[in-house]
Symmetry: C2
Subunit: 347 residues, 2 copies
DNA sequence: AGCGCGGATTGAAGCGATTCAGTCTGCCAC
DNA sequence: GTGGCAGACTGAATCGCTTCAATCCGCGCT
């Protein structure tokens, strides 16, 4: 029962050298002769020496940790992001401290302060409103910060191009011949929703078509399956009558395709379509957003816009650690085409 | 552009007191007179003072961080767990450092060492094999550790009762009248798989039935949708013939219900059943495990065994921080019944 | 033999907060 | 008037590591 942690001094004594040499083995091995180095390393192993990072940090003023604030850790959307961050940090032997802001400014401030006290190398923050005030504070503390999934004029930031993502989705539907396309948008006050709406319109214009004629937009309050179902119901209601084809009565769908702001919403939309006896993709094509892991596993695999979250996290850390001059890095999303939007591959 | 961080000394000077008093404001406010305390706090705010945690930690030998190692951070299964950990830590103003072992012993060791260097208050580890060796090492370093989702004789641990989870699932199917039940198990060398198999058998015995007659087991190598599909295919193949009912040709299913080792596997099983024209739950009932968020969102909402991961994380931290005497805490899972196993609620 | 040089090693200073033995002050009791 | 005491405050020592000026040593060169 050894009561205390082994210090560098014990190692030095046992190895018959000074503490400076032991420290050099740890930090400047090339400055120590082969013989003493291996000897000291052996002693370290014997004594089970573990270097105290807080003492080191106090002295050199640099830590091995990075703080990460996401909106909600339990949201699978952030998982891949976190993984990208971790993978890049591992290269520099760094660790990440993660927490959730829950979109609560107080929580966020509290965590930022805790991180500052810890002397993190930098912070990665997924802001949920204008955080320029906080950033300034961090600036005066000389703590580099990169905003995730945001565009900032004051700080470094990385994000995925929502305009382009929506454009790809709509272009794909137009390519498939659709000329009446529903768009179930999320809360219009959210930046990503605005941008995706813009991207959708842009794609239609690029095809020389009239946006007002092609796009039927409806917005829902939350990005959940229930909202998606509700949104789809609204779209269907705007269509009107019921038609009887063959033996089955079917709702007449006012659109031949639906672009959903997110995969959850798409799942809800699929549910409502099915409830009305409409078949995907034969009657209506559906495209989602985010490409959550289940998109491909669904009964009708869902076409979706994939965001390179792993790269996003990786690059954010890269910017943080290397102090890149780049102010903002934007990633291109990628449309993953699956059965839910491919009318000709049915059967 | 203030070049350096404000130290406690600056605050003391500016406030016309000694560093000791400033420190007391931070750590023993009751020992400082009302007047000076508020004055010092004001000065701190003015100067934007942020206390250096590494210096504090060096002196008092106690940090505000906890290390967490999960198998793979990008697995949604761990999200809720992480959230439970975070929520409990927040109460004590602690932060968590998270990382993924990827089931690689070297990575795991590396992270454990990093955590030890950081002087974490404790560690939460999701082991993937026998880690008693590592734990012993941590023991000599006096770093408390709680194993997650594991049962250990040497260390503290928390887990969910797999035997009971499987028992609930099978009991439910027996209640529904099923007497030939398929079981798509995972790799039989994994402890949870063994335990669930045991629980399944136990439930059948409790009903006074013959396990060999009721349960048709098949095992798959990985816990993926593809494996699930494959496993279901095997089950169906063991049945043999094809029957023609009404207008449709259908495979004869040798079982009337299937219990899957996990929801991904269940998704694969559903896919295969559908491919054979078998309807869930009319022809075959399906039960999964884990109750992933999508279980309820599926075309046929999936009955699944829910594990209280949030509580698990919360309790693990509780044990860590309060040094509970309890060696092991086991949680009860809960069967969430949905349409996929309720034959009588169809239509 | 003496000099110079460079690589290896030493050891004390210092990072910033906390602690604690001690001082200082004011006040009450006798 | 003096002693005693509690409450408020002080400041030097300390935590373990890194750093760097200084020292030491061995060797080749003149």
């Amino acid at each position: 029962m050894t009561a205390k942690r082994v210090r560098i001094r014990e190692v030095a004594e046992r190895a018959g050298v000074s503490t400076g040499t032991v420290s050099n083995v740890l930090n400047h091995p090339e400055a120590v002769s082969e013989t003493t180095r291996t000897h000291i390393l052996a002693v370290m192993r014997d004594l089970n020496f573990v270097r105290d990072a807080s003492a080191r940090q106090l002295r050199v003023g640099e830590s091995q940790t990075v703080g990460v604030i996401v909106r909600d850790l339990s949201n699978p959307f952030y998982m891949e992001l976190a993984r990208g961050i971790e993978d890049r940090l591992a290269q520099d032997n760094c660790l990440m401290m993660v927490c959730s802001s829950d979109e609560d400014p107080d929580r966020e401030s509290r965590y930022i302060r805790l991180f500052a006290e810890q002397g993190v190398r930098g912070m990665l923050i997924t802001p949920f409103r204008d955080t320029s005030e906080q950033i300034e504070m961090l600036d005066t503390l000389h703590i580099p910060t990169v905003l995730l999934d945001a565009l900032s004029t004051t700080a470094q930031s990385v994000s995925v191009d929502h305009v382009d993502g929506a454009r790809q989705a709509i272009r794909h539907l137009l390519d498939q011949g659709h000329r009446r396309i529903g768009f179930i948008n999320g809360p219009p006050e959210l930046r990503p929703c605005q941008e995706r709406a813009a991207g959708a319109a842009q794609a239609i214009e690029e095809y020389g078509l009239d946006v007002a004629e092609v796009l039927v937009t409806t917005a829902v309050g939350t990005m959940s399956t229930d909202s998606g179902q509700e949104g789809m119901a609204k779209l269907l209601a705007s269509g009107g009558a019921t038609r009887t084809t063959g033996l089955v009565a079917r709702a007449v769908c006012p659109v031949t395709a639906v672009f959903c702001i997110n995969d959850f919403v798409a799942i809800g939309a699929l549910r409502e379509l099915r409830r009305h006896g409409l078949v995907v993709p034969t009657d209506v094509a559906v495209v989602g957003y985010d490409d959550i892991i289940f998109a491909r596993e669904m009964m009708v695999p869902l076409t979706s816009v994939r965001q390179p979250m792993h790269d996003l996290g990786w690059t954010a850390v890269e910017m943080l650690l290397t102090g890149q001059p780049a102010k903002h890095v934007s990633f291109q999303p990628q449309l993953i085409v699956r059965a839910s939007s491919l009318a000709d591959q049915r059967g």
